[in-house]
């Protein structure tokens, strides 16, 4: 086994890199991809089974009764919101008043190494539950509605409709791009102060949106965190759904949509009986409390079921998914040791100076455009092959969802590296959240910290490799189900799958290559 010290690539004083995926794991991923691609292409497709298989957790022993109690009363959520809001305020306080050393301040460690990483992981296990306890929304709601729970006065907000032009996820898409630029270009992830400022800015935006627009427009249209969670939660095996769909079918009063005298209406305009995709559900619990039949509860379903069968993303949501595919890979790309050299060469060529933000912006735009162009091409070839059986935009949106597992899998594989290797100092930060009186990390300390990750390095590599294979497998399954549904036959011409298979394989191989490279430590 290699000397662990050799596995930490020390580039120059103060710059260290995590080791990349070893060859054995790369070979395992490649072999798995080959087998899965063959299996997907040549295994006969069974008739499509739609999502009748969701099973309500309300009927489960132990969990069921507890869940019913928690879902139908506001206290559980109120307490959780109070806790997250308190932590959020601590993050802002520590960011503004604490140590500027990112690795010593809870603002940066909690936000970027633990929360942002853990949030994406949580989506798989609890769907969009984060949105229910989101501190931005909680504080904004308390400020605007002026109550801890329940329906606020109508006069608390102007209740304007969101202008048609931005009644889609394009604002969230742009905000996601903006946040990525701030994160990787301006480096807010390594600045407690900037992290706190960002948290404050989002709080102001959430509050203003709630005070001006009807229901929770920020959650539905503008919040890139919420939309990311929402889109990924389409793959989750857990979601809020009706226990008995027949009760919803007979319901004429739609309390889930309109709310009651004391309970808020659905913040994102959803009717639970007709809910087919999780994208806009914030798991806020309003429907579970307002339903007179107590018919809404968490349900278990097969992984990716929704993405395979029921989800119908629109043009804007399809672009959001593509944005996720591109920007998750871009995160890895910008942390390669070679990235800085590429940026310096580009800056020298175009006469960029200083923080090289123009060069970074060009690099980021290229990283967005290349996957989008390749995907558009793959969809175009498929469109030709199926004889233009439906409009190009429709096919584009339908097939975009097949790329979602690629983004999710790489997002997790990348983030898990940050969490396992950089979350090591979290306990000391929790004891001294402001990092008062601390000094910068020395190289020796960096080495020690990174030689002892939270889990063994081999387990980490196995997880990363497994996630990439999982993403590839799920993407292939979604593609095949979508194409079968589209063509209306279980005997699918394999040529129809090839363009998208090439795209899915290319993205997976690129992400695999990224994981093979050493990754520069963030903090």
């Amino acid at each position: 086994m290699a000397d662990p010290l050799q596995q930490l690539v020390c580039k120059s004083p103060g710059i260290m890199a995590h080791p990349g995926l070893p060859t054995i794991w790369v070979e395992a991923v490649l072999l798995a991809m080959l087998l899965l691609a063959g299996w997907m292409l040549w295994r006969p497709q069974r008739a499509i089974v739609t999502s009748g298989g969701a099973q309500s957790l309300a009927g489960w022993p132990v969990i069921g009764p507890w869940m019913k109690q928690a879902l139908t009363r506001p206290w559980t959520l109120v307490i959780l919101r109070l806790i997250t809001a308190a932590i959020f305020l601590l993050v802002i306080y520590a960011g503004l008043f604490g140590s500027p050393l990112a690795e010593r301040n809870i603002a940066t460690v909690l936000t970027w190494s633990l929360w942002w990483t853990g949030l994406i992981m949580s989506v798989y296990f609890v769907g969009s539950a984060w949105c229910a306890i989101c501190p931005w929304d909680a504080i904004a709601t308390w400020l605007v509605r002026r109550r801890l729970w329940g329906r606020g006065e109508e006069t608390a907000s102007l209740n304007l409709r969101v202008p048609r032009l931005i009644r889609n996820v394009w604002p969230a898409w742009w905000m996601f791009i903006g946040l990525t630029w701030l994160e990787l270009g301006l480096g807010i992830t390594t600045s407690p102060y900037m992290t706190a400022i960002l948290a404050l800015v989002i709080l102001v935006l959430t509050t203003v949106s709630l005070a001006v627009f009807e229901r929770k427009a920020f959650c539905r249209y503008f919040c890139s965190v919420g939309r990311t969670v929402g889109v990924y939660s389409e793959l989750s095996p857990i979601a809020l759904r009706p226990i008995d769909p027949d009760i919803c079918a007979r319901c004429k009063t739609l309390e889930c949509y309109h709310g009651t005298e004391t309970i808020e209406p659905c913040p994102t305009h959803l009717v639970m009986g007709r809910l087919k995709e999780n994208t806009y559900c914030t798991s806020c619990g309003a429907c579970t409390q307002s339903c007179p039949y107590q018919n809404i509860a968490w349900s278990a379903r097969p992984t990716g079921e929704e993405a395979m069968h029921t989800a119908r993303p629109h043009w804007d949501a399809a672009w959001f998914i593509l944005g996720l595919v591109a920007l998750t890979s871009f995160h890895g790309l910008s942390m390669l040791p070679g990235w800085e050299q590429w940026m310096r060469s580009l800056a020298h060529a175009i006469g960029d100076s200083g923080q090289l933000l123009w060069s970074f912006t060009i690099g980021m735009a290229g990283s967005l455009l290349v996957p989008a162009a390749l995907f558009s091409l793959a969809v175009f070839v498929t469109w030709k092959l199926i004889g233009k059986a439906l409009p190009y935009q429709r096919l584009f949106a339908l097939l975009a969802i097949a790329t979602l597992p690629l983004a999710f899998a790489y997002h997790l594989a990348h983030n898990i590296n940050h969490m396992v290797r950089e979350g090591k100092g979290a306990s000391s930060v929790l004891l001294n959240p402001l990092g008062s009186g601390t000094l910068p990390m020395t190289e020796a300390e960096m080495h020690l910290r990174h030689l002892q990750p939270l889990v063994q390095q081999d387990i980490l590599f196995a997880l990363q490799a497994g996630l990439l294979v999982f993403g590839f497998w799920l993407a292939m399954r979604i593609l095949r189900h979508r194409m079968v549904a589209l063509m209306g036959t279980t005997v699918l011409n394999k040529t129809l799958l090839l363009p998208m298979l090439v795209f899915i394989s290319s993205i997976t191989l690129f992400n695999l290559w990224l994981l093979m490279q050493p990754m520069i430590m963030r903090m």
């Binding site: 503004l96 400020l143 400022i197 942390m335 800085e340 100076s353 200083g354 923080q355 910068p440 963030r522």
Partner: protein, 193 residues
Amino acid sequence: MRIKRLVTLCLLMGLAAPSVLAHHVLGRPAYSLNEDSNTPPSMQVETQIGDYFVTYMVYPAFPKPNEPGRINLYATRIDNNEPLNAEVTFTVRDDSWFSDKEEKLGAQVIDDNVYRQGFMFREKGKYIITAEFTANGEPYRIDFPLQIGEASPIGPVGIAIGAIVLVLVGVNVFQRKRLQRLKTRDYHKQREG
């Protein structure tokens, strides 16, 4: 034609002045501590301007008023790593709002591949250090932020609270007036009816 190259990091990094540890993007301040020497923690910014790669270090990392400090500036050509050999002039200006105070700190020549400039500030605040030199007939000017003492974080909190209060009060007043108008209209309708 002589091209004046200007790097204004102050606007972006001034926001992040009491901040950032950076490892993989140029132009961000990073803090480091060398365990093998007795030097205090330092703040370091690496950047690129024209044909030169410039590293700027400040000792100590968090300078305080009436405490002597030092700037070390390293500049090497990007193409061949050859150190810059010219006179570098350091000036400082107050970066706070409504202030245009500027002062020359000194002019330094190269010493062991480093340009060293000492400083001592009497008042805490946000400052911009400017290093100017001429190479191959082209003037170079690089601005770097320098925070003396602790930054005042009241500004962002004040702005955030101010914005929220303004919107909430505005909405409240608007809605009250609207309700009042509706009541008055209903009252008149009832009287007319």
